[in-house]
């Protein structure tokens, strides 16, 4: 290291000679931090999203690199949140990339003490069969006075407040067409 470089490495020298007389910015930066770039800078793409926790609806920018979420930050354009996120919103990247996330179908047989593997397609088929069977066993055409009921009380559903409007729409539409009335979500709770 030459003398000149050595002196230029002094924050106080840079403070006196550079654009940062208070020594709170560039003058105080170490060589290491000067060489760093934000994870957001080399992202392949950015998706504009919304925080999945509470109903304030803070704007998020989801940065993606190599097909993985590399960072989630508040969206400064949002008139609701002005770029801020609370501890939960800030933890969204940890949420979606959590190693605890279960990514395989799990199946527990009646009276079993453990999970087993199950193919997604098979699971879907088994569930469809069980819905149709429950519906057949519990179907009600009419009440005691002959007025239409067109329904099954044989199965229920709970959930929707964390889902998209489009998803709730399909859930309600499908269950209603099956005569399944007992559809509820957090709005009741």
């Amino acid at each position: 290291m030459g003398l000149r470089t050595f002196i230029e490495g002094w924050p106080v020298y840079r403070q006196l000679t550079g654009t940062d007389p208070l020594g709170r910015g560039a003058a105080a930066q170490s060589a290491r931090s000067a060489g760093l770039t934000a994870r957001t800078e080399d992202a392949d793409s950015v998706a504009r999203s919304v925080c999945p926790y509470c109903a304030v609806g803070c704007g998020q920018r989801v940065f993606v690199r190599d097909g993985q979420v590399s960072q989630i930050e508040g969206d400064p354009d949002s008139p609701i949140s002005r770029g801020r996120l609370c501890p939960k919103g800030s933890a969204s990247k940890s949420l979606v990339t959590s190693p605890l996330r279960q990514t395989k179908v799990r199946y527990r047989r009646p009276y079993s003490t453990q999970w087993e593997d199950l193919d997604l397609d098979t699971a879907l088929d088994m569930i469809a069969d069980r819905m149709l069977a429950a519906r057949e066993q519990t179907w009600e055409d009419v009440d005691t006075q002959g007025r239409p009921l067109n329904r099954t009380l044989g199965f229920s559903s709970l959930g929707g407040a964390t889902l998209d409007n489009e998803e709730n729409y399909l859930i309600k539409k499908l269950f209603t067409a099956m005569g399944a009335l007992q559809i509820e979500n957090q709005a009741r709770i």
Binding site: V56, S90, R130, L149, E167, A187, I189
Partner: protein, 864 residues
């Protein structure tokens, strides 16, 4: 709000910086209290007494915004001679039917309209939570009503209101709520002073209000104050619900709820709605004023969206396909039916009732008695593993080898792995772009339900059974894309928006809805979100590039209006109330309403318009009637129908309370929904004996660092690390009384369960002097359960099941318990402890306090 909706709270801080005074009312001193100007500790469950005190303060001192009140509310309307108030009935209004525990509302009506309360009897309405329909419009009432503009008539709403709250004095507020009189007067004075022509005040609440046996009436009291002060429909005013889940507003608008269809259309009832016309008339109420007169178009268009070509005017648009309600099919009734073996299957979609619903043990016992259970979530939540890890396995109540429930756990896609809209708490829809593909078997609900539906239809393709027609005729042909055949969320949004059937052109406004089958609309209040074929919810014009209303960020229902009923931001003549509060006004030159927002009024109807005699529907709304979805165009200080537990809010004690109601002989809400199921033992309250067995009040709420039942936070390491343990906050006084050590253990006992928690001794909780007695309150977070990175007992296990009669939401913000030092017993000894408490409290299985606690003369019953 700083705890549970932190980023929303930045706007409160902005207002404070500009000189606003912030009051925080909460049983516990929180991060919100820390930055408020004034903190008022309150006994949980007494908010109507506090707010009723504010109403009395306004009326007694004539501080209401008189011009607004006269023109825009029903203050001048005259009520039937048959009406009698709770002041005369010791806590009962006229019309109570002790047999069903509900009211006949005929006597509550406006004078001359006594017959128009609809069914007359409200038992059915309670079971079907029909109050929820009013999220988009008022209850029915005839348009032409007698009025006394001088407000002197003894039966005008103004005078009735005055009498009703006459005993809610500052002294009474102190006796009931534990709030010192000077603190109360400071609040009442600031609230009223900050309202009027030049200023507006806002009222903000969360589920701390809704989760009560009188939850709807809490909000009604707030609305009465805001109407009296002229704070509705104006910038900086309003009653704002801070909802707790990303799209809980959306899941109410497009309801995954048993009693509603999209856009607050009621699910048909087998007895009341046998035909399409009767169903539509029950919504439209012929003769009534207001926009709801178009209900027939919304109803026909929904059925057209569901059943496409099969739905024709000749077959009533397949109305016959809809399932019919016969009573209460709500989530708590379902759980009790599961325990009784009446339900075979259960889907859980991003919801964790084993921790998040009241009476966790009932939830888990119900799930353990199913044929099959499908759990769709990001993580293996408690509701997926109750059969091996739940507390009932430890007590021996659930034995895995004997538990028959077949469980499917299907991993779900996260919010960045799918596209679609959330509706946030101000009715604003925001589209999310997809960032990455979901991992492994994880899929969106859109994928799951679309492909499940396809498969069900394939399996039934050859069926000739009439009951399968509804499924086979369903329009179910959404385009898919990508290797996993993900359905297009935009195509679903387009159907929700609605389209012209002949051309497929997306509709721009619900005014285009037709009753002849020429339009199909999935959710009429969302029409416009896809106007011009453009996804309006995806708009992201920066806040720096538009005005403060930010109308080009996302899309709000209805019609992208940001403030509802904003006609009220102008005076009756159409001029702004003040320059400072200018928002929507009448431009006489152009002959139209204009301003910063989309006017919530017919654009060219002048302020001077008066309806011709006998007019109904939109024609019946006068040019100075801002509340266009109400049957009389007015804001309701007094609700002649639509609210099942009374036309005015009344203070009742919580279902479980250590205190005798200081205001009336009637102790608790007599119309609450009770379940006398053996699993649901409710702790005794005065005038019943033995209430001292459970002497303490407990309340629960959120921590900033956790989310609801913890499924999205106890599983996330930064959040788990910030709040690693279940705890109970107690005051230093209670710690001394019960021998509790800071950071030691305590256990809490109710008639349902025992849970344990680490002790946090803190003066954030303070004992309150109520009726000469010291009442201790303890506070718990409700986020903990037995799975995840950090675990703990669930606070919701302590609660029983008692519901608000209007919306069937449970009282899970207040209950009674005992607090004991040390850890709880384990195994069967835990059940013995609960049984011992039940015995000492004299509550057998399924005990409920009596609904009525006065005799027919209105005196306290002495038989208990």
């Amino acid at each position: 709000m700083a705890e549970a909706h932190p980023v929303g709270f930045q706007w409160v801080m902005e207002a404070k910086r500009k000189g606003a005074k912030v009051f925080h009312v909460d049983p516990r001193f929180t991060r919100t209290s820390a930055v408020a100007d004034s903190y008022l500790p309150i006994r949980a469950g007494t908010d109507i007494a506090l707010l009723g005190g504010v109403v009395r303060y306004i009326l007694d001192n004539e501080l209401d915004f008189r011009e607004y009140v006269l023109s825009y509310t029903n203050a001048a309307t005259i009520v039937s001679e048959d009406f009698s108030d709770t002041e005369d009935g010791d806590g009962f209004f006229s019309g109570f039917d002790p047999e069903t525990g509900t009211y006949v509302q005929d006597s509550w009506q406006y004078e001359g309209n006594e017959g128009s309360s609809g069914s007359g009897h409200t038992a059915k309405e309670r079971d079907s939570a029909s109050g929820l329909e009013h999220e988009s419009h008022g209850a029915q009432v005839d348009g032409d009503t007698p009025r006394d503009e001088t407000l002197q008539h003894p039966r005008c709403v103004y005078q009735i209101l005055k009498r009703h709250f006459s005993r809610y004095t500052p002294e009474m507020v102190e006796r009931v709520c534990g709030i010192p009189q000077d603190k109360f007067l400071e609040l009442a004075e600031a609230w009223t002073r900050n309202s009027g022509r030049e200023r507006t005040g806002m009222l903000i609440y969360s589920v701390g209000w809704t989760q009560h046996s009188v939850g709807v009436q809490y909000i009604r009291t707030g609305a009465i104050i805001q109407l009296l002060l002229g704070n509705m429909g104006r910038p900086g005013g309003g009653v704002m619900a801070l909802r707790g889940h990303a799209s809980i507003q959306g899941s109410t608008d497009i309801p995954t709820l048993f009693n509603l269809l999209p856009g607050y259309l009621p699910m048909p009832h087998h007895a009341d709605h046998p035909t399409f016309d009767e169903w539509v008339d029950s919504i439209r109420h012929p003769g009534q004023k207001g926009f709801w007169g178009n209900a027939g178009s919304f109803a026909a268009s929904l059925l057209k969206a569901y059943w496409g070509d099969a739905a024709t005017p000749e077959n009533d648009f397949c109305y016959g396909y809809l399932p019919r309600m016969t009573g209460d099919h709500g989530t708590y009734q379902q759980v009790l039916n599961m325990i009784d073996g009446k339900i075979k299957g259960y889907f859980l979609l991003g919801q964790n009732p084993a921790v998040g619903s009241a009476h966790g043990r009932a939830q888990r016992l119900g799930m353990a008695n199913l044929d099959w259970l499908v759990v769709r979530d990001l993580f293996e939540i408690e509701s997926a593993t109750f059969w091996k890890n739940g507390p009932e396995v430890a007590t021996g109540e659930i034995v895995p080898e004997e538990c028959r429930t077949e469980v499917f756990f299907l991993p779900a896609a996260s919010h960045v792995e799918k596209e679609g809209t959330f509706t946030q708490t101000q009715r604003l829809l925001q589209w999310r772009e997809k960032a990455v593909e979901p991992p492994g078997d994880a899929r969106s609900e859109l994928w799951f339900f679309y492909h499940l539906g396809r498969r069900l239809r394939e399996k039934l393709a050859d069926s000739k059974l009439p009951r399968d027609r509804a499924l086979l005729d369903l329009t179910w042909d959404y385009p898919t894309h990508g290797p996993r055949a993900e359905p297009s969320a935009e195509s679903v949004l387009r159907e929700i928006n609605g389209y012209d059937v002949a051309t497929g052109r997306p509709l721009s406004s619900f005014a285009e809805a037709r009753a002849d089958g020429s339009t199909a609309i999935g959710c009429w209040i969302y029409t416009g979100v896809y106007a011009d074929g453009v996804n309006q919810a995806a708009r992201r014009k920066s806040r720096h590039e538009q005005d403060w209303v930010a109308a080009e960020w996302g899309w709000a229902w209805p019609a992208n209006r940001r403030i509802l009923y904003n006609r009220a931001s102008a005076d009756p003549d159409g001029n702004p109330w003040s320059e400072r509060k200018r928002y929507i006004w009448w431009d006489a030159e152009k002959g139209e309403w204009t301003g910063h927002d989309v006017p919530d009024f017919e654009k060219t109807k002048p302020p001077s318009y008066r309806p011709p005699p006998g007019a109904s529907g939109t024609e019946g709304i006068a040019g100075d009637d801002p509340f266009i979805m109400q049957g009389d165009g007015k804001g309701w200080l007094y609700a002649p129908s639509g609210v099942l537990d009374g036309p005015l809010p009344t203070h009742y004690e919580p279902v479980e309370s250590p205190v005798r109601n200081p205001l009336y002989g009637q102790q608790a809400n007599p119309t609450r929904k009770m379940y006398a199921h053996p699993v649901n033992s409710v702790n005794p309250s005065p005038p019943e004996g033995h209430s001292q067995v459970f002497p303490y009040v407990f309340t629960v709420s959120r921590l900033t660092e956790h989310h609801t039942a913890g499924g999205m936070s106890r599983t996330v390491s930064p959040l788990a690390e910030l709040q690693p343990e279940m705890f109970v906050e107690v005051s230093p006084e209670l710690a001394v009384e019960r021998g509790l050590a800071h950071l030691g253990w305590a256990h809490l006992v109710s008639g349902r369960a025992v849970i344990e928690a680490r002790v946090l001794v803190t003066d954030r909780l303070t004992p309150l002097r109520i009726e000469g007695r010291l009442i201790h309150q303890v506070w718990l977070p409700y986020h903990f359960g037995f799975e995840g990175l950090v675990t703990g007992d669930s606070a919701n296990d302590l609660f029983g099941i008692s519901l608000d009669p209007n919306v069937l939401i449970q009282e899970s913000k207040v209950g009674t318990c005992d607090v004991r030092p040390g850890r709880r017993p384990t195994g069967p000894a835990l059940l013995d402890l609960v049984a011992d408490y039940q015995r000492r409290a004299g509550i057998g299985p399924g005990h409920n306090a009596p609904a009525v606690t006065t005799d027919s003369e209105g005196r306290e019953r002495s038989d208990s």
